[in-house]
C-alpha cells in the first residue's frame, strides 16, 4: 500500500479532496485572525468594526464545516474504492500462488488487515495533511507578527516530528504482535466453535473455555501492550508540546513588553499557538502511526504482488508409472510400491485406513511432494509426457461445492459447458437426474454451502459430473461414492468403467460384483 498509488488512481478527486482540506484549515486559522481583530476593535472602542469581524469569523467557521463534510465523505469513497482494488489483487494472489490457504487466514488478509491499514495509514495521511496545512497557515500568521515567533515555532516543529521515531520500532512490534494474535485467535475460534455440539455432548465446557480463554488472553495482552507503547509515545510528544507553548508565550510577552509587537497578540497568541502546536502534535502522532504500520504495509504489498497465473501447460495425462515412493509427514512416513497404470485401465486401490491411499492421490495431483521416488505421466500411447496436472479428474472424500447453482457447480462456472442437454445427459451418467427432478428449480437449484440443502451423495454426484464434463482422461476417485446408495453406486461404476478413461478408485464397502468390474485390484499393505 503506497500513498502514490492511492493518489494516482483518481488524481482529480484526490486533488479536490486535499484542496478542500487545505481550504478548511485556512478558514479555521482565519477565524483566529478575525478574533484578534475583534479584540483590537474592542480595545479601540469601534462597535461597527467589531460586528464586521464577528460576521467574518462566523463565515470562516461555516465554510470550514461544509468543507470538512465534503472531505470526510470523499476520503471514505476514495479509500473504499482503493480497498476494493487491494482485495481484488489479494484474492488473485491467493488464487494464483498455488498454496493452501486457511479460510481464517484469508479472512484476516482480505478484511481485517485492510481495515487496520486504512485506519492507521490513509486516514492518518489525510489527517496529517490537514494538520500540516493548519500549521502552515498559523505559522504564516505568526510570521506576520514577528519573525522570531516563527523561528521559535519552526524549531519546535522539528523536535515534534523527530520525536516519534524514537518509539517507532516498538510501535511496529506492538502492531505486528496484535495482528498475529488476532489471526491466532480467529484460528482457535474456528477450530473450537465448529465442535460446540460435540463439546456440549461431552460436557467439556471447562476445557473449551480454558482453550478459548487462553487465546483471548493473549489477544487482550497484545491490545494492552500496544496501548502502553502508545501512551509512552504520547507522553513524550505532549512534553515537547507543553515546553514549546510555554516558551512561545514567554517570547510573546517579551516582545510585547519591548513594544516590538502589538499588545493584542497576547489575546490571540494562545489561539495561534494551539492551532500551530496542537496540529503539529497531531501531525507528529499521525506520522508516528504511519511509520508504525510500515511493516504491515510492506507485508501487504508482498501479498498483493501479482503471481504468474498457472497456465495450462503440458499435456493431459492418461496414465502414469511411479517408482517406489515415500512421503514424510511430521514424523510419520508412508512408502508405496512401484505402480503403473496402462491407459484405459480400471484399477481398484485398497488398503487399511491410514495406509495412505488418499495421500497417494495427492502425490499424483502434485499437492504433496514425495521424499523419494518419482512419477512419470503417460499419454494415450503410453509415451512419457510433460503433464498438466490440473487435467487429472479428482473426486475427494469431502467434495467441495460453491455458492451458485447446481449447474454452475457441475460446470465449475464455465459458461461454455452450460448447455441444458449436455448437463442433463451428464446428470444421467452420474444418476443425478432423479435428484434434479425432485428439486423444483432443477439445474438452477441454489447450493447453500453453510446449511447444506444438498446431501452427501448428491454432492458426490455433482462433483463426479465435473470430470465427465471436463473429459478427464485420468480419473482418481477417493471414496467418491461413499455416500451414494448401493444400487446407484453399482450403476455409476459400471458406466464409468465402460468409458475409455483410466480410472483409479479407492473404496471400501464395494459389493463383490462391483469389485469384479475392475481390471485389477492393487492392495497397499
Amino acid at each position: 500500500m503506497t500513498f502514490k498509488e492511492f493518489y494516482l488512481r483518481k488524481p482529480v478527486k484526490s486533488s479536490l479532496l486535499f484542496l478542500a482540506s487545505a481550504l478548511s484549515s485556512l478558514l479555521l486559522v482565519g477565524s483566529s485572525y478575525a478574533l484578534t481583530l475583534e479584540f483590537n476593535a474592542l480595545r479601540n472602542r469601534q462597535p461597527v468594526l467589531f460586528a464586521q469581524m464577528l460576521a467574518l469569523q462566523l463565515a470562516c467557521l461555516v465554510f470550514s464545516a461544509l468543507l470538512t463534510y465534503y472531505g470526510n465523505l470523499s476520503l471514505e469513497q476514495l479509500i473504499q474504492s482503493y480497498l476494493q482494488q487491494i482485495r481484488q489483487e489479494l484474492a488473485l494472489h491467493i488464487f494464483n500462488d498455488g498454496q493452501a490457504h486457511d479460510p481464517a487466514q484469508a479472512q484476516n488478509q482480505l478484511l481485517k488487515e485492510g481495515d487496520l491499514l486504512t485506519v492507521s495509514y490513509l486516514r492518518n495521511i489525510y489527517s496529517s495533511f490537514k494538520a500540516g496545512m493548519t500549521v502552515l497557515a498559523s505559522g504564516g500568521a505568526l510570521l506576520s507578527f514577528h519573525w522570531s515567533l516563527f523561528i521559535a515555532c519552526l524549531i519546535f516543529a522539528l523536535v515534534q516530528i523527530s520525536l516519534p521515531r524514537l518509539l517507532d520500532r516498538q510501535l511496529n512490534h506492538a502492531n505486528q504482535r496484535l495482528a498475529t494474535q488476532n489471526q491466532a485467535y480467529l484460528k482457535v475460534l474456528g477450530d473450537w466453535l465448529l465442535g460446540l455440539g460435540d463439546l456440549h455432548r461431552c460436557l467439556s465446557l471447562a476445557w473449551f473455555k480454558e482453550k478459548a480463554g487462553l487465546a483471548a488472553k493473549e489477544l487482550e495482552d497484545a491490545h494492552v501492550h500496544k496501548s502502553a507503547v502508545s501512551a509512552r509515545l504520547d507522553y513524550l510528544n505532549q512534553l515537547a508540546y507543553s515546553l514549546g507553548s510555554s516558551l512561545i508565550l514567554l517570547l510573546t510577552a517579551f516582545l510585547v513588553i519591548r513594544h516590538w509587537t502589538a499588545f493584542g497578540l497576547l489575546s490571540s497568541i494562545a489561539s495561534f499557538n494551539s492551532d500551530f502546536f496542537g496540529n503539529l502534535q497531531n501531525a507528529a502522532d499521525y506520522l508516528g502511526e504511519i511509520s508504525g504500520s510500515r511493516q504491515l504495509r510492506q507485508d501487504l504489498l508482498k501479498q498483493r504482488e501479482a503471481v504468474p497465473e498457472q497456465k495450462e501447460a503440458g499435456q493431459a495425462p492418461a496414465a502414469f508409472a511411479s517408482s517406489p515412493l515415500t512421503v514424510e509427514f511430521n514424523g510419520l512416513s508412508l512408502a508405496y510400491p512401484a505402480i503403473k497404470l496402462q491407459p484405459g485401465e480400471k484399477v481398484l486401490l485398497t488398503g487399511a485406513s491410514g495406509r495412505g491411499k488418499s495421500t497417494f492421490f495427492k502425490l499424483l495431483l502434485g499437492e504433496v511432494k514425495a521424499a523419494s521416488g518419482e512419477i512419470h505421466y503417460l499419454d494415450q500411447k503410453g509415451q512419457v509426457i510433460q503433464p498438466n496436472l490440473s487435467q487429472i479428474g479428482y473426486l475427494p472424500q469431502d467434495p467441495q461445492l460453491f455458492p451458485g447453482s447446481v449447474a454452475e457447480n457441475m460446470t465449475m462456472f464455465n459458461p461454455a459447458l452450460n448447455d441444458q442437454d449436455l448437463l442433463r445427459q451428464t446428470a444421467d451418467q452420474v444418476n443425478l437426474s432423479e435428484d434434479l427432478r425432485l428439486w423444483p428449480a432443477g439445474l438452477d437449484t441454489r447450493v447453500a454451502v453453510e446449511d447444506s440443502n444438498i446431501s452427501g451423495g448428491q454432492r458426490q454426484k455433482i462433483v463426479l459430473a465435473r470430470s465427465y464434463l471436463y473429459h478427464s482422461q485420468l480419473l482418481l476417485i477417493d471414496e467418491g461414492t461413499s455416500a451414494i446408495d448401493q444400487a446407484a453406486t453399482r450403476e455409476i461404476i459400471a458406466r464409468l468403467l465402460k468409458t475409455d478413461k483410466t480410472i483409479m478408485f479407492v473404496a471400501h464397502n464395494l459389493t463383490a460384483d462391483s469389485r469384479q468390474l475392475f481390471d485389477r485390484e492393487i492392495q497397499l499393505d
Binding site: Q107, A212, Y235, S246, E312, G354, N509
Partner: protein, 520 residues
C-alpha cells in the same frame, strides 16, 4: 457493554482512573485562569512575575500529561479485562445455543474490536470532556449568566441533532456489521475449496463473488461515514453560531461598561474551550449511540439459559415416530411410522436424498417436523422432552480438536473415568494416544478420523447413539470389529449406512429402508 458494567469489572482501578481524569481537568482549568494575571503582569510591565507564573503553568502541564497517559493505559487494561468476561459469557451462550460459524466468529472478534475502538476509547474521551465541560461552565457562570445560557443553548441544539439522527446512524452500523459478516462468510466459502477452483481454472466466479461481497461492504462503509459526517457537520454549524455568540454578548457587555477588557479575553478562552469540548461530547455521544444496537445484541448474546424441561435420554423406554413429514431443501420428506425400543440396534438405509441424515436430526431435535410427532416415552409410558446433548450423535462431518488423541477421546469430561487407550483399541486405532493432532490433520486418513470420533462417542457411554455414516471410510475388517462392539452395547443404536455387506447388516436387530418421495 455499558459504562456501569465496565466500571464493575474492576471498581478499584476505575476509581483511580476517574481520580486521575478529574485531576487533569482541574489542572487544565486552573492553567487557563492563570492566564488572566499573566496578561495583567505583562500589561503592568512586570516581566519577572510573569515568568514565575509561566513556570507554575508548565509544571502543572507536566503533571497533567503524566496523569492523562497513565489513565489512558489503565483504561485500556480495564477494557480488555472486561472483554475477557464478555468472551467468557459468549462462550457460555453459544455452548447452549450454537450458531453459524461466521456469525459466532464475527461476534467474538470483529464486533468486540468495534466495541473497543468505537465504544470504549470514545467513552474514555467522553468522560474527560464531561468533567472539563462542567468545570468550564462553572467558570463561565462566574463571569456572566448570559454567557453560560448561550453555551447551554448550543449544547442542547447539538444533542438534539444527535438524538434526532441517531436512528439513521444505528441503521448504517447494523448494515455494516451484516455486510462484514457476509463478506467473511463469502471468503470462507470460496477459499475452503481453493484447490478445486484452481483445478478447474474457475478464477472468474471466485473473483466475482469476492468482489461483489467486498463492494457491498465498501458501500456500507461509505454510507455509514456519510450519515455520521452529516450529523457532525450539522453540529459544527450550530457550534459556529455558538462560538460567535459569546464575543457578541461579551462585546455588548463591554460597550455597556459591564465587563472589563481582561474579562472579555478570558471568557473568550473559556467559551472557545467549552464549544470544542461540547462538540467533542456531542460527537462522542452520537458515536456511542451508533454502537447501541450492536451493544444490545451482544448483551443479549451474553445471557445463556438452559431449558429445564429437558430430561436425560437414559429414562427412555421407546421412541415413537408418527406420520412425520417435512420439507427440507424444497423436497418433501415423509417417514413411515416406527417404534424403536430401548436397546434396539437399528440400521437405516435408503437412496441418497431419502432423508436418512434428516431423520437423525429430527430425533436430535435439530430439525422440527412440520407434520406428525416424534415422542420419547419412559418406562411408565409417560412422554418427555429429551435433552439433545445426552444423545450420542455423530454427524457425517466430523469435528476434531487441536489436542492429543487421548484428549479428543475423553474431551476432559468431568467425572469420566474411561481410559482412552481402551477405546482407541476398541476402534482399532493403533496410534500413540499422546500424539498431538489438528482439526484438519493431513496425517490422519478419513477412516482414522472416523475411528477417533467413534472412540469419543463410545467412551462417553451415551444411552442412545445416532450414527450417520460413521464407518463409511473405514476398511471392511475395521467395520466388522467396530460393528461387533456396537451391536453388543446396552445402548440403543440407530445407524445410518449404505453399502454394508449382508453379514454386517445381519448384526442389527432391524433394517429400516427409506424411500425417496416426490417433491412438493
Amino acid at each position: 457493554m455499558t459504562l456501569r458494567k465496565l466500571i464493575n469489572s474492576n471498581r478499584g482501578r476505575f476509581a483511580i482512573i476517574f481520580a486521575l481524569l478529574v485531576m487533569t481537568q482541574v489542572i487544565d482549568v486552573a492553567s487557563t485562569y492563570l492566564f488572566s494575571p499573566m496578561v495583567n503582569q505583562v500589561s503592568a510591565g512586570r516581566f519577572n512575575i510573569f515568568c514565575s507564573l509561566l513556570l507554575i503553568q508548565f509544571a502543572l502541564a507536566l503533571v497533567l500529561n503524566f496523569a492523562f497517559n497513565g489513565a489512558n493505559y489503565l483504561f485500556s487494561k480495564q477494557t480488555q479485562q472486561y472483554l475477557h468476561g464478555v468472551r467468557d459469557r459468549l462462550a457460555d451462550h453459544y455452548y447452549q445455543q450454537p450458531a453459524g460459524l461466521s456469525e459466532m466468529t464475527n461476534h467474538f472478534s470483529q464486533d468486540l474490536d468495534t466495541l473497543t475502538y468505537d465504544y470504549a476509547t470514545v467513552l474514555f474521551y467522553l468522560i474527560c470532556d464531561v468533567i472539563n465541560a462542567l468545570m468550564v461552565a462553572a467558570s463561565l457562570l462566574s463571569f456572566h449568566w448570559l454567557l453560560l445560557l448561550a453555551s447551554l443553548l448550543t449544547t442542547v441544539t447539538s444533542f438534539a441533532i444527535a438524538r434526532l439522527l441517531e436512528k439513521y446512524s444505528n441503521q448504517a452500523t447494523d448494515q455494516l456489521s451484516a455486510a462484514s459478516q457476509h463478506f467473511l462468510a463469502t471468503i470462507a466459502q470460496w477459499t475452503a475449496g481453493l484447490a478445486e477452483l484452481r483445478r478447474y481454472f474457475a478464477k472468474g466466479p471466485y473473483q466475482k463473488a469476492l468482489l461483489k461481497s467486498g463492494q457491498e461492504l465498501a458501500d456500507r462503509q461509505v454510507s455509514r461515514r456519510k450519515i455520521n459526517s452529516q450529523i457532525q457537520c450539522l453540529q459544527s454549524l450550530s457550534n459556529a453560531l455558538g462560538t460567535v455568540s459569546i464575543p457578541l454578548i461579551a462585546g455588548f457587555l463591554f460597550f455597556k461598561g459591564q465587563m472589563s477588557l481582561g474579562g472579555v479575553i478570558t471568557s473568550g478562552y473559556f467559551a472557545s474551550s467549552i464549544f470544542s469540548v461540547l462538540e467533542n461530547i456531542a460527537g462522542s455521544y452520537s458515536y456511542l449511540n451508533s454502537t447501541k444496537s450492536l451493544r444490545q445484541q451482544l448483551s443479549r448474546l451474553q445471557e445463556s439459559k438452559k431449558n429445564d424441561n429437558l430430561q436425560p435420554v437414559n429414562r427412555m423406554a421407546q421412541i415413537e415416530i408418527k406420520q412425520v413429514s417435512l420439507t427440507h431443501g424444497k423436497q418433501l420428506l415423509s417417514y413411515p411410522d416406527l417404534t424403536i425400543h430401548a436397546g434396539e440396534k437399528i440400521l437405516i438405509t435408503g437412496d441418497s436424498g431419502s432423508g436418512k441424515s434428516t431423520l437423525l436430526k429430527l430425533l436430535l431435535g435439530n430439525l422440527q417436523s412440520e407434520k406428525g410427532q416424534i415422542i420419547f416415552k419412559d418406562a411408565a409410558g409417560q412422554a418427555f422432552q429429551p435433552d439433545p446433548y445426552s444423545i450420542g450423535y455423530q454427524a457425517q462431518d466430523l469435528v476434531l480438536f487441536p489436542a492429543t488423541l487421548a484428549e479428543n477421546v475423553t474431551m476432559h469430561t468431568p467425572g469420566l473415568s474411561a481410559d482412552p487407550k481402551d477405546y482407541l483399541k476398541t476402534v482399532g486405532l493403533q496410534l500413540d494416544p499422546q500424539r498431538q493432532i489438528t482439526p484438519d490433520d493431513l496425517t490422519l486418513s478419513g477412516g482414522q478420523k472416523q475411528k477417533l470420533a467413534l472412540a469419543r462417542t463410545l467412551s462417553h457411554g451415551f444411552p442412545l447413539l445416532l450414527l450417520d455414516e460413521s464407518l463409511s471410510a473405514v476398511d471392511r475388517a475395521g467395520q466388522d470389529q467396530i460393528l461387533r462392539t456396537l451391536c453388543q452395547l446396552p445402548a440403543t443404536v440407530i445407524f445410518v449406512a449404505h453399502n454394508l455387506s449382508p453379514e454386517q447388516k445381519a448384526r442389527f436387530d432391524r433394517e429400516i429402508s427409506l424411500a425417496k418421495r416426490e417433491h412438493v
